[in-house]
Structures are given as structure tokens and as C-alpha cells.
Symmetry: C2
Subunit: 149 residues, 2 copies
């Protein structure tokens, strides 16, 4: 939102937004042939690398609301990529795992690390670290402020 910069506020906000959306769009474009959304990819990623997981834990790990994850999981189950069972000692919980076809799909998926690499290729290592630090600090301040409100 370029014009907003004239107000001298929300400028970095505008760039975080642009950067976030650009990255996600590229992710989505890459995953489109596989009929996967970016968040669906994160779920598969976690299940493939961290193994089966209780839905609640997965939500915490991916920083999603339970309700949000619930919808994603429903989609993945419908596609036959993920299995949702309730075999634990706590009958409220649902355990998630990749199905055979989910594992097969995961093996076919391209490596997405090229996105991060392309985005920050040629950028000074120290500058990247600074950026991370600034964003982390800003996020923490914002979340703290949100807490109080």
C-alpha cells in the first residue's frame, strides 16, 4: 500500500505484507500442479518430518488456531493424504498421520527452499540477521500490545 507511506507510519508494515504475500504466491504457484495450498504444505511437511502428531500440538507448532487447522485437516483427509484417528488415551484428541498416498505425494513434491534462497540471494548475511532481529522485536512488541488491548 504505497501511498500509505506518505503518512510515515505502517511503512514497514506495508513491506512485510508485500514480502509475505509474494512469498506465499510463489509457494502457491509451485504447489498448484499438486493441488496443494501453502498451509496444507506446512501440515504435510510437519507430519513428514516430525512424524504423527496430535492435532492440538500441530496447531501450536504451526501457530494456527485450532479451528483453522481443523479446516485444513478436513481438506487433507478428503484428499486422502492424511489419516485422522482417535486412538489415544484422551478421547478428545485426534492423532494425525500421513496416509500411504500422502507419503507418496510428499516424495514427489519439489523442494521449496529455492524460494528463500532466491529471495535473499546476494544479500549480506549481517543485513539478513539485522532484518530478522528487527522483525522479531517488532512482532514481540505488537503482540504484547495486542495482549493488553
Amino acid at each position: 500500500m504505497p501511498d500509505v507511506e506518505k503518512t510515515e507510519h505502517l511503512t514497514v508494515g506495508a513491506w512485510t505484507k508485500r514480502c509475505y504475500f509474494a512469498g506465499r504466491a510463489l509457494m502457491d504457484a509451485t504447489l498448484r500442479p499438486f493441488d496443494l495450498g501453502s498451509t496444507q504444505w506446512y501440515v504435510l511437511w510437519h507430519l513428514a518430518n516430525q512424524g504423527p502428531s496430535v492435532q492440538r500440538d500441530l496447531a501450536r507448532a504451526l501457530e494456527l488456531e485450532r479451528a483453522t487447522l481443523s479446516g485444513i485437516v478436513a481438506t487433507l483427509v478428503r484428499k486422502g493424504l492424511v489419516r485422522q484417528t482417535s486412538d489415544g488415551d484422551d478421547q478428545r484428541q485426534r492423532r494425525l498421520a500421513l496416509t500411504r498416498s500422502g507419503e507418496n505425494l510428499w516424495r514427489e513434491l519439489p523442494d521449496l527452499s529455492f524460494i528463500q534462497q532466491a529471495a535473499f540471494a546476494g544479500i549480506d548475511e549481517a543485513d539478513l540477521a539485522t532484518t530478522m532481529r528487527v522483525l522479531r522485536a517488532a512482532t514481540e512488541r505488537l503482540q504484547a500490545l495486542l495482549q493488553k488491548a
Copy 2:
């Protein structure tokens, strides 16, 4: 998405996401008493400060798709805050302007600059500039890559 950092890619992507969402959440929380969403605020902001505008121009200025803006505008018109007329020489275009009640509401709205200020208070000016530069460069690379795909 913290765990993702272990893959050593998408780490900055995760922070831009967190930062963007945290900022937007704070904006939404501040605007909630006025029953306004953050994008609705941007539209009012533009109309209040840049004056009436053709819908297409507004979409370009706010970096929104025409379809997206169309929905936002419909909501604002329904609330009686914005007037949508087609009085130009080009009968396809719709000219947008604040209504009287829209102007009144705008005057009542709090200044949102405290969000940006709070987020980056105490952060070194040079570091902030570096962050802006890195984000801008990354976004441009990502968009260029998206273009080709």
C-alpha cells in the same frame, strides 16, 4: 511457523508473516469499536486524504485486485460511508467519495500511527533502513520469479 526454521528456509518468510499478522491484528482490534476492518480503513484513508477517486485508481494505489476492492466498497456503501457514482465521461468507471457520515466517522477514528511507532520504538534508525531495504529487495526478487512462473 517456528519448526519450519529447522529446514533453514522460509525463516524470514515466517517472520514477515508473524509481523504482518500481528500488525493487522492490532489494527483490527483498534478499529473494532468502529466496526471497520483494516482494509476498509485504508480505503477511507485514501478517500479522506487523496480525495475522491475512480475505483480502478484506488485499487492500483492500495495494491488490491479490482475484485477485492469491489467487495470492500460494497460493504462501505452498505454502511453508508462511501458513495459510488458513475457520473464521469467513461460510463464504465465508478467514482468513489466519502459521504457526510463517512467524513464524520473518519474524524472520530483514532490515529493509527501509534502502531508503527510502538513496533519500532527504540530500534536503531540504520537497522530499520536495512530492514526496509532487505524486504524491498526480497519482494522484488520474489515478484520477478513469480512473473516467470
